[in-house]
Symmetry: C2
Subunit: 99 residues, 2 copies
DNA sequence: ATATTATTTCATAATTTTGTCAAAAACTTA
DNA sequence: TAAGTTTTTGACAAAATTATGAAATAATAT
C-alpha cells in the first residue's frame, strides 16, 4: 500500500526524450535523417540554414536522449537515426495518446 | 522527400502528458489513486498535506492530460485514474526507454 | 603549422512551471 | 433565500528549464 508504482526516473527520462524530440528544429533534423542514412553536421546546418554551433547543440541533445548516433569518418562526423528508429518512437507516442 | 514523418502535435501531446506525470506531487497523487478507486479533493490534499488550491491545480493538470477523470457526487468531486490506467503508461515508458 | 569540422562553454534571454493567495463558482442543506 | 462546504479559477511572483549566439577549445587531415 502506498508503494510507489511508477519509477519517477524512467518517467523523467521518457518525458525528457519526448521533449527533446518535440522541437521544430529537431523534428526537422530527424526528418532529414529519415531520408538519408547519415549526414554530417555541415550538411545538416547548411540544409536547415542554421548556425553550425546551433546544429551541433541540437544534435547533441538528440544523441544524449538516444535518438541519434554519431560516427566519425575522416574529418566529418556523421549522424544517423538510432537503428530502432522512428517507427518505435511513433508507436510509443500513439500508445501514449490513446484515450 | 523531406515530408514530415512525425506529427509534431502528437509528439507534443505525448511529451506534455509525460511531463505532467513526471512530477513528485503528481506521482504521489497517482499513487494514492492507485490504491483507492476514487478520492475527493479534500481527501487528497489532507493526505498529502498540501493546500487545497494546489491539489486542485495538480488534479486539473492530470485530468487535462487524460490521466484522471472526475465525477461529482453530492458536495464532493471524486477523482479516479482513467480506466486504461497505469500499466499502459508504464508499458509506454518502458518502450520509450528501450535503447 | 594551417585549414576544416565539430564541440563545449559561457552569458544572457525567453519560456515554462510552480506555489500561493484571494476571489468566484458550484452545489447542498437548512 | 441564506449560509456552509467543497472545488475551481485567475493573477502574480519566484523558481526552474530551455534556447540562442558568440567565443574559446578540441580533433582531424593535409
Amino acid at each position: 500500500m502506498g508503494n510507489l508504482v511508477i519509477d519517477i526516473n524512467k518517467l523523467e527520462m521518457a518525458a525528457s526524450k519526448l521533449r527533446a524530440i518535440a522541437h521544430p528544429m529537431r523534428i526537422a533534423i530527424i526528418d532529414l535523417l529519415n531520408d538519408s542514412p547519415k549526414l554530417s553536421v555541415t550538411e545538416i546546418y547548411e540544409k536547415l540554414k542554421i548556425e553550425q554551433a546551433s546544429a551541433s547543440h541540437h544534435l547533441n541533445i538528440l544523441k544524449n536522449k538516444g535518438v541519434l548516433i554519431s560516427k566519425r569518418e575522416g574529418k566529418k562526423i556523421f549522424y544517423s537515426l538510432k537503428n530502432i528508429s522512428l517507427t518505435e518512437i511513433i508507436e510509443c507516442i500513439n500508445r501514449c495518446n490513446e484515450d
